[in-house]
């Protein structure tokens, strides 16, 4: 069996600050950023008011969808939040779905999802500070009684932990299960074709054609779409409740 499941490999090291490791996740993140940027530029170039093209209608539909999502979950006066939500949706979905192409998805690396969750966490704290003031910000931790201080701190910290672990676990389980199924299918094809004396033909993994596509539809498309949606929903719900 030649199944290898490992973390992101370090591809090269930048020679600043005593060496910064650039791992597979970072490189795939660059690919995702380039894809999203090129897609957005392609969608939005030469727009016109009087004679909209099909591409422009699709772009408007996407923007309206995100605006509606924000409006339904946060309220009327949160329109300025739509770009952040759209960014999280696009980045999260594209990086999880990148495993279709055979590259390693950045979100299968805990540091990426933790970074995303920390952005949300700092936003939540910022809105707490904005809406309650400095005194109210710290008073929140000793409510309803001061004995609850450790519980409140744990409750506050568990939010980014649970958000990042949920996203990471879902994508990583997909990666691991896909690798295991590929290994099993290779072993099975060797079992079936093993009687052929020609080693080249005997080693062709015929069962790896087509069958993993079913898994890919679930793990790459469905799971990543759901996780991106949930990440956005949790971000919106928590920020909106922090600002109250």
């Amino acid at each position: 069996m030649d199944v290898s499941i490992n973390g992101p490999k370090v591809l090269f090291t930048l020679p600043f600050f005593g060496g910064i490791d650039v791992s597979q996740s970072v490189v795939s993140s660059w690919v995702v950023l380039a894809l999203v940027t090129v897609f957005c530029l392609w969608l939005t170039h030469d727009m016109s008011v009087t004679n909209p093209s099909k591409r422009q209608i699709a772009a408007e539909k996407l923007v309206l969808m995100v605006k509606e999502l924000v409006e339904n979950n946060m309220g009327q006066n949160w329109q300025h939040f739509a770009p952040l939500v759209a960014t999280i949706l696009a980045y999260s979905f594209c990086s999880s779905a990148l495993s279709i192409t055979g590259l390693r998805s950045p979100t299968a690396d805990f540091s990426v999802t933790l970074a995303m969750a920390l952005i949300t966490f700092s936003l939540i704290q910022l809105y707490h500070l904005k809406s309650k003031g400095v005194f109210g910000f710290f008073k929140r931790f000793v409510e309803p009684v001061p004995v609850m201080l450790p519980m409140n701190i744990i409750g506050e910290v568990s939010l980014p932990a649970s958000m990042s672990l949920r996203h990471f676990g879902n994508i990583t389980s997909g990666t691991v299960i896909t690798a295991l199924v590929y290994g099993a299918l290779a072993a099975f094809s060797r079992l079936v074709l093993g009687w052929i004396p020609n080693t080249f033909i005997a080693n062709i993994p015929i069962f790896q054609v087509g069958i993993p596509a079913v898994l890919s539809v679930y793990f790459d498309m469905f799971s990543s779409a759901i996780q991106a949606y949930i990440f956005c929903m949790l971000t919106m719900a928590n920020v909106a409740s922090a600002a109250e």
Binding site: I5, N6, G7, S162, L165, R166, F168, G169, N170, T172, S173, V176, I226, Q227, Y229, I230, M233
Partner: protein, 84 residues
């Protein structure tokens, strides 16, 4: 010898950790059942019920994901072996 004991205990621990998958299974099954009942009563609310159900299922799944993360750590980055 100690290494073998630690590895065996880790392997058993991985299996035990994944028992936590029972919880989300029951919870999600209940949620989906209730959603089906709700759609049966009010078929016009199907899209809203479905999206709420999927969101709830994915959040209920997080305890299962935690156990998965624990078992993945024990499988691929076992910290206990380094303690020897």
């Amino acid at each position: 010898m100690e290494r073998a004991i630690v590895l065996a205990a880790s392997a058993i621990g991985i299996g035990i950790a994944m028992i936590a998958g029972i919880g989300p299974g029951i919870g999600e099954g209940y949620a989906v059942g209730q959603a089906c009942a709700a759609i049966g009563r009010q078929p016009e609310a199907q899209s809203k019920v479905t999206s709420t159900m999927i969101l709830g299922c994915a959040i209920a799944e997080s305890t299962g994901i935690y156990s998965l993360v624990v078992s993945l750590i024990l499988l691929f980055a076992n910290p206990l072996v380094n303690l020897l």
